[in-house]
Amino acid sequence: MFEWLFKFPLDVYRSAQLDYAFAGPSWVLPGTFIIAAALLAFLLWRRGTLTPIRRVAVFAAQLALVAFVLWLLAQPELVNEQPVAGSNTVALVLDDSASMAYVDDGIDRLATARSRLDDLADRVEDTYNVERALLSNTATPVDSYDEVSAVAAASPLASELATLVSQQRGESLAAVVVASDGLETGADNTAALETLQQAGVPIFALTTGRQSVAEDLALVSAEVPTEAVAGSRFDAIVTIRHDRGGDARLRVLANGDTLLAAETVELDPARSTTQQTVNLTLTDTGFQSLSFELTPLGDEQERRNNRLQRVVDVPERNHRILYFEGEPRWEYKFMRRAIAADDDIVFSSLLRVSPNKFYRQGLEDSTELADGFPTDAEELYQYDAVLLGSVEAAALAPAQQQLLLDFVSVRGGSLLLIAGPNGLGNGGWGESALAPALPTQLPAFGTDTFRRERVSVAPTVYGRSLSALRLSDDSGSGWNDLPDIADHQSVGTLKPAAQTLLSVRTSTGDEPLLVTQPYGRGRSYVFGTGGTWRWQMQLPVEDQRHERFWRQLLRTLVTAAPQRESVRAIAADPGLVVEAEFLDDSWQPRLGLAAAVSIVGDGGVEQLALTPAPDQPGVYRGRVFGRGEGIRYLEATALDGDTVVATARAAFAGDSVAIEHRRVRASDTALLAIARASGGAVLTDADPDTLLARLRESAAGVTELRRQSIWDAPAVLLALLLLKTFEWVVRRRWGQI
């Protein structure tokens, strides 16, 4: 409509400059305007039948008409650069990746895209030189599209179009037209988009395919911890992409044959993704391969995106906990009993039984904690988690408090403060050197908030989502009929990063009971009760919820703590970045080592030298190209001279299914970014004429200045008619024709 009214598309108006073809003296038109205005004023003055207001209105309408006519006499023109016919090239690029083979409602994406490009080629061949190219892993010039295959597992659109534009700029490239479903497999396109912006060659995208594919389910992600304790429960967070409601069946298999979980996931029809938390338990040690599998829908074409593979390390080493308690108490006893059967956790405790006597339990050897609470990092950092019970802060020297702070922030250990007559705020921990690490601002020292009264406990919404706080295997979380705890204590006010996991219902309302926050590399918890032992004494012997609560919570604490030597692979485009970290006994970076990593997979062994990361002391880094498929094992080694001083192992799941197959839904996100950067446009349903007009507007290639008059546009005639009609209608109503 716009183009019909104004002769040219809106974009032409936007890109062009307005100029006038009038060749006469510059004073002629303004002078004519002044004379016309004076004449009109005189004539209206002589006609004394109109009221003054009406005379002014008629004068304004007639003066506008005169101004408009004079503007037309100036011969307005749009001036812009346009390619010179026969001197420029248009590249027509067909996406030839595997996703283009998808058939949408019986319509082949590839055939549709090819047809549109062929049609366009026929229309522009008189004006432009046409270059054809296929884009899959790379953009390849072709003579015809007969070479399409649609099998390539990648389509890095931005980077390959940038390469294409850079290579063909010498051939007076005026524009690029790409026909694609828009599935971009490149990870970081920043540099490519900058290249396209600098090149100034407009890229026009013809999109094909459906953005909503109801017959397809896709596993987008499955987040699992890198490490788990044998026999402990952990969460896997699975995200499913869908364009429909209903149910989906999800299975999780360990090592290909052991069923760990089978769940029905209710898909929210109002959303395009649904997240499901799956509770898993691994009993075998070593690297465990997990397969997450969605049962395909009956009419599902692409089933490769229904499966994801992950690896979880279940190490054979023991995790270690230090529990420092200031007085004999039932919580201490029953916590020890709850964790006693856990062979994977060494639970060492230091209990002050008399004013000057400590009792040690659960020791690895007789020297452990022989001198009391650790005074140096080497000793304290052996533990993965530290528990502080009903003990005042003053029981530790300021240096020991600082050491505990470093234990969380530097070592990455977990810290749990447990309520008690001398615990939390009562013990002055809120004013101690440890205070910054705590998730709450504890009540001030001297304010006794410890109460021996029964209160009920319930998980918060967030806490309910964590497997560590699930106390039963059935659909309930196991909290509803738990007996009250024996006591409670205020945990104070939450800090900004704190999350409440459990709350307690007291006589004054709900209060946080278990609160956590990350601090540095580690995490701290504050638990406002020392009375969970009542669960154990009030429930039948067969009821294991008290034991389960403490086992799961303590396992969560220890598995979160990192190890001194570690190696990991991070997906980076292209390939992988491998990072190994080596720290000494005090958790300080080990510098000057010669580090290397072996990557073992189905394809053999790949050796990679690692170099010190300048931004992270103690970290050694290297890059491999290609992510490989299946499970791959990393073994990092650090040498000081000829001596191996540290090793670390890890495993990760490579891309068993390429990204190209994971996404079947057409998307214009990447194409819009490319079009914006290059000065082009996404033309989903544009007709060939519009596309041709857009091509002609391109200022790239060999161009000439083109002037296009607009005085003869239909809108001009309409405007003239409207102005006169308006005046006529008004005067007729006044009876003053």
């Binding site: 004999p328 006893k333 008399s354």
Partner: protein, 248 residues
């Protein structure tokens, strides 16, 4: 609650003793004395042995509690509590003391409840019973509690005897009768035995002081003629049982 109220009524009326209302203990540890029933058909009952559970009450715990407060970090209530096996509050007191258990008589319901209490983590100290007859009487009820768990001598290496003190003196702690008779034993119980019943994980859950009377030693801590060293040893045993119960 009805059972507890009935027990309170019967016991209170019979013995003019206060039986406290249930609630959370006012401190982490409260000395809890077990008010057990005596078989009404027994010879002992007919002889008047109806309230043997209150022997040494309240001085025994009164003295011991002061000792616990002085010698340990245990947060301890100033006064003791009295509980029956069927008391609703029983499971809020994970440490129990029973005296003169040669006279107790637990029916199967009570025995089942005491077994449940012990298996959940409760701890029982029994004391002040002597000789063959009282042992047999004690075991008659204890076998109802644990038909299959053996009673064993507590070895010197057992952690319960080293948790705070090294209790390697196996000395018979006498009752106050010593002052009149000059004998440290009663009936035919000449040899003291520190016996125990253990759970499946090797933890002591019933400490059996047989042929001795540590309750009397607590009670007579302020009796000038009672041997001070016996009171001191009895304190150590009592405190060790408490610390052990709160750590194992």
């Amino acid at each position: 609650m009805l059972q507890r109220a009935a027990a309170a009524l019967v016991l209170g009326a019979a013995m003019s003793l206060p039986v406290f209302a249930a609630g959370m203990p006012p401190a982490e540890f409260q000395f809890a004395r077990l008010a057990y029933p005596v078989d009404m058909n027994s010879q002992a009952y007919r002889r008047g042995a109806r309230d043997m559970w209150q022997t040494d009450w309240p001085d025994a715990e009164h003295h011991l509690i002061r000792g616990i407060k002085r010698l340990t970090r245990v947060n301890t209530a100033d006064e003791g509590e009295i509980l029956t096996v069927m008391d609703d509050a029983l499971f809020d007191y994970p440490w129990l003391y029973a005296v003169e258990v040669g006279y107790w008589s637990l029916n199967q319901v009570e025995a089942d409840r005491l077994r449940e209490y012990l298996e959940r983590g409760g701890f029982l100290v029994v004391d002040d019973f002597h000789g063959t007859f009282e042992w047999a009487s004690f075991m008659e009820s204890m076998l109802r509690v644990f038909p299959d768990r053996p009673v064993r001598e507590i070895p010197e290496s057992d952690e319960s005897l080293h948790v705070l003190y090294d209790l390697d003196q196996r000395v018979q702690i006498p009752s106050i009768m010593l002052l009149r008779t000059g004998r440290t034993w009663e009936r035919d119980g000449r040899t003291p035995h520190w016996r125990g019943i253990y759970d499946d994980d090797g933890r002591l859950m019933v400490a059996i002081n047989f042929n001795m009377d540590i309750g009397d030693a607590w009670e007579h801590a302020d009796t000038p003629s009672y041997p001070e060293n016996m009171t001191a040893l009895a304190y150590r045993f009592g405190i060790s049982y408490i610390i052990y119960a709160m750590t194992h």
